[in-house]
C-alpha cells in the first residue's frame, strides 16, 4: 500500500514520517490563476474608475478576460481536493476561523461584481444585437443562437434612452470601484491562506498577502497585454489579406492603436513590477537579518536547494530580464512579447517557490523534501496533480475567453461600446 504523495515526494535526511509534499502543482496554479483574475480586473478598472483614457481599448478586453479566468479559478482547488465530491460542504458548514472557509463566498461576490459590470457595459450591444437579429429573416443556426443568448442576457431591459445609458455608465464606474478592493481582497486572501500558517517558516509573514496582490497585478496586466497583442497580430494578418483601401479597420489603424496601448500598459506594468520585487526582496532581507531559528534551514533552501528556481528563474529570468527589456527605449512588439512571457513565467515561478519551496524543508528543520512533478499521468491522482492537470487549467481560460468574446465583442475598434 503506497501513499499518494509518494508519487512526487522524495525525502532526504531527517523528515517526520507523515511529511510529504501535500500541496503540489494545483496549489501552485490556484494563486497563479486568482492572481491573473485580480490583475486583469485591476487593469480594466484603471480605465473605468480612474478614467485613464489611453487604456480604453484594453479595458473591455481585460474585463472579459478576467471573467473567463474567474470561472477557472476555483478548479485548481477542486482538482486538489482528495474528496472533490464533497466540495459543497464548505458552503454547508463553513468554519470561519479557517482562511479557506470564505473562499467560495469571496469568489462568488467578486464573480457577481464582474458579471454585473459586464452586463452594464454590454447591455447596449446586447439590445442592438437582439433587435437586429429579431427582424432578420432566414436566420442561420449560429444567428439563432446569438439571437436567443443576446435576448436572454438583456434580462428584458431593452431601454436604450440617453438617461438609461448614462445610468449604465455610472453603474460600470461604481462596480469598477467596488471591484478593485474586492479583487485585491480575493487575492490578498489567497496570500493570507499561506501567510497565516504558523507551522511553515517560509510562509508565515504578514507581507504575504501584499506580495501576492502586487504579483497578481503584475501577472494579470502582463497576460492581458500579451493576449491583446496576439489578437491584434491576428487582426493585422486578416487586414493585410483583404488589401482593400476601404477595409475596416486598416492595417495602419490597428498598428497605431496597438503600439499606443502596449506603450502605456507596459509603463503600468513596470510600476507594479518594482513594487512587487521590492516587497519580495524586503521579505528576504528581513529574514536573513533577523535570522531566527528557522533561518538555518531556510538559508539552505533559498541559497542552496532552490537557488536556480529562486534566483535564476524567478528573479533574473522572470523579473530582471523583462524589466530591462521594457525599460530600453523604442519598445517593439517582439521585445514586448518576450518581456511579457518572461514576466508571467516569473510570477508562476514565484508561486512555485512559495508553495513547493515552503514544503521543501521538514518541520524537523533537519531534513528536506524534493518535488517531482508527475509528467505522464498513470491514474486520476497523477493526472490531477500532474503536468496534464496544470496544462488543462492553463488552457481553459483561453477557450472560455473565445466563447465569451462571441457574445461580448472585445475587438471592434470603432463599434466599441463606451
Amino acid at each position: 500500500m503506497t501513499v499518494l504523495e509518494e508519487a512526487w515526494t522524495i525525502k532526504e535526511l531527517f523528515v517526520y514520517p507523515n511529511e510529504y509534499i501535500y500541496w503540489s502543482i494545483q496549489i501552485v496554479m490556484y494563486p497563479f490563476m486568482t492572481g491573473l483574475v485580480a490583475g486583469a480586473f485591476v487593469l480594466s478598472s484603471l480605465y473605468h474608475l480612474f478614467g485613464i483614457r489611453q487604456l480604453k481599448e484594453i479595458a473591455r478586453f481585460s474585463l472579459v478576460f478576467s471573467f473567463a479566468l474567474l470561472m477557472v479559478a476555483p478548479l485548481p482547488l477542486l482538482f486538489h481536493l482528495l474528496r472533490p465530491e464533497r466540495n459543497f460542504y464548505v458552503f454547508m458548514t463553513p468554519h470561519f476561523t479557517s482562511a479557506i472557509a470564505a473562499f467560495g463566498i469571496v469568489l462568488f461576490v467578486y464573480g457577481s461584481i464582474v458579471a454585473s459590470e459586464l452586463w452594464f457595459l454590454y447591455r447596449k450591444h446586447l439590445v442592438e444585437t437582439s433587435s437586429k437579429l429579431k427582424n432578420q429573416l432566414n436566420k442561420t443556426l449560429a444567428e439563432k443562437i446569438r439571437y436567443w443568448v443576446s435576448t436572454i442576457l438583456t434580462l428584458g431591459v431593452f431601454d436604450l434612452s440617453e438617461t438609461t445609458l448614462r445610468k449604465d455608465e455610472k453603474a460600470v464606474k461604481v462596480l469598477a470601484g467596488v471591484g478593485v478592493p474586492v479583487a485585491c481582497f480575493l487575492h490578498g486572501y489567497a496570500g493570507f491562506i499561506f501567510g497565516s500558517v504558523k507551522a511553515n517558516a517560509l510562509w508565515m509573514t504578514p507581507l504575504m498577502p501584499v506580495i501576492f496582490i502586487m504579483s497578481a497585478v503584475v501577472s494579470g496586466v502582463a497576460l492581458c497585454l500579451l493576449t491583446y497583442i496576439i489578437v491584434m497580430e491576428i487582426k493585422k494578418i486578416m487586414a493585410s489579406r483583404k488589401r482593400s483601401p476601404l477595409a475596416h479597420p486598416t492595417l495602419e489603424e490597428i498598428r497605431g492603436v496597438e503600439m499606443y496601448e502596449i506603450g502605456i500598459t507596459s509603463k503600468y506594468l513596470i510600476f507594479f513590477l518594482i513594487f512587487s520585487i521590492s516587497l519580495e526582496l524586503l521579505d528576504l532581507v528581513f529574514r536573513g537579518y533577523t535570522a531566527v531559528k528557522s533561518w538555518d534551514i531556510l538559508r539552505n533552501v533559498i541559497y542552496g536547494k532552490d537557488f536556480i528556481n529562486i534566483f535564476l528563474l524567478q528573479y533574473t529570468l522572470g523579473n530582471l530580464f523583462p524589466f530591462i527589456l521594457l525599460l530600453i527605449p523604442w519598445l517593439t512588439i517582439r521585445r514586448a512579447v518576450v518581456a511579457l512571457v518572461l514576466v508571467i513565467f516569473g510570477v508562476f515561478m514565484m508561486r512555485w517557490n512559495v508553495v513547493i519551496g515552503g514544503q521543501s524543508f521538514s518541520l524537523t528543520f533537519s531534513g528536506y523534501m524534493h518535488y517531482h512533478l508527475p509528467l505522464i499521468p498513470r491514474d486520476l491522482e497523477t493526472f490531477k496533480e500532474g503536468l496534464a492537470g496544470a496544462l488543462l487549467i492553463l488552457g481553459l481560460p483561453f477557450a472560455l475567453f473565445w466563447a465569451l468574446s462571441r457574445i461580448f465583442p472585445v475587438f471592434d475598434l470603432k463599434e466599441s461600446p463606451r
Binding site: 535526511l13 514520517p17 468554519h95 479557506i100 507551522a199
Partner: protein, 251 residues
C-alpha cells in the same frame, strides 16, 4: 464599578500566572475529564510495539509509510553532530545501528564517537489550542470536551490545510479513505474505559495516559510534581503530551 475593575484585574493576574504553567489552568477549568499523555523517554527501548499496535488498532495499512504514532532515535556524536531517524516509523523497531539518511542511504556511526543516544516516541499532542481545528474550512475536525482532537471521516473534504497547520507533522491522508487522519489517544477505547493501544503495547511503561482533572491520577501527579516538558512551545499550541527527559536535540 471599582470592584468590577479590581475583580477583572485580579482575574487577569491569576489567569496570567496560570498561563505560565498550563496544567494548572487546565486543572482549574470546569471540565471533568481532560486527557493528557506522559512519555518517559528514559524508559523507551525503541521496540516499536506501540507503532505496530496503533496501526493494527486504528486500521492504518501496515505497509503504508504513514502512521499516527512513531518513535525517533537520536544519536549525539562527538564530531559529526546529531543524527536522527525513524525508519518506517519504527514499526519494526530499530533493527540496525545504522542511521537512515533517506533516499535509501544509511550511515554507520562508530560507537566510540557517540556521546549519547536515546529514543523519543511521538504522538498527537491533542493541543489545547489546536491549529488544525482552527484551519479546517468545513469544521470536520474538532476538539471534544475531554480535549482530544478528532476528525470526522464523513465530512473531511481532503484539502490538507490541517496537515499544513500542524507544527508536529502528526497529520496525514488516510491511504484508503483519502481523508485527514491523526492520533486521537484511541478515543474509541477511552470511551469504553480502556487504555490506548500504544499504552497497552509498551513493554516498559514509557507511554502513559491520564486525566489531568483527577487529583488522584498517577499521571496527573507526575506532570504536576516532576520536571516535564513539551514539544515546540513557541507555536503557542499548548500541547498536552508531556515528556520526561526531553533533550535539547529533539526536533
Amino acid at each position: 464599578m471599582k470592584f468590577a475593575l479590581g475583580g477583572s484585574g485580579a482575574l487577569v493576574f491569576t489567569r496570567g500566572l496560570n498561563e505560565i504553567f498550563r496544567p494548572v489552568a487546565l486543572q482549574a477549568s470546569s471540565r471533568p475529564v481532560r486527557w493528557v499523555f506522559l512519555v518517559d523517554t528514559y524508559k523507551c527501548i525503541g521496540c516499536g510495539f506501540c507503532v505496530k499496535a496503533c496501526k493494527l488498532e486504528n486500521e492504518i495499512p501496515f505497509e503504508a509509510n504513514v502512521s499516527r504514532t512513531w518513535v525517533e532515535r537520536y544519536i549525539v556524536t562527538k564530531e559529526d553532530g546529531v543524527f536522527a531517524d525513524t525508519p518506517k516509523e519504527a514499526r519494526h523497531g530499530f533493527t540496525t545501528s545504522r542511521v537512515d539518511l533517506g533516499q535509501g542511504k544509511y550511515k554507520d556511526i562508530p560507537r566510540e564517537i557517540i556521546d549519547k543516544a536515546f529514543f523519543v516516541p511521538k504522538l498527537c499532542n491533542q493541543c489545547e489550542k489546536p491549529p488544525c481545528v482552527q484551519v479546517c474550512p468545513v469544521g470536520a475536525t474538532y476538539q471534544t470536551a475531554e480535549g482530544v482532537v478528532l476528525v470526522d471521516q464523513k465530512w473531511c473534504i481532503g484539502c490538507g490545510y490541517c496537515i499544513m497547520a500542524c507544527p508536529y507533522g502528526m497529520r496525514f491522508f488516510h491511504p484508503v479513505h483519502h481523508v485527514a487522519e491523526k492520533c486521537n489517544f484511541c478515543y474509541h477505547r477511552l470511551a469504553k474505559k480502556m487504555k490506548p493501544a500504544c499504552v497497552l503495547a509498551c513493554p516498559v511503561g514509557a507511554r502513559r495516559i491520564g486525566n489531568i482533572k483527577d487529583p488522584g491520577d498517577a499521571v496527573a501527579k507526575t506532570i504536576m510534581t516532576q520536571r516535564v516538558s513539551i514539544h515546540k512551545p513557541e507555536y503557542g499550541t499548548n500541547p498536552q503530551v508531556y515528556y520526561l527527559g526531553l533533550s535539547e536535540e529533539v526536533r
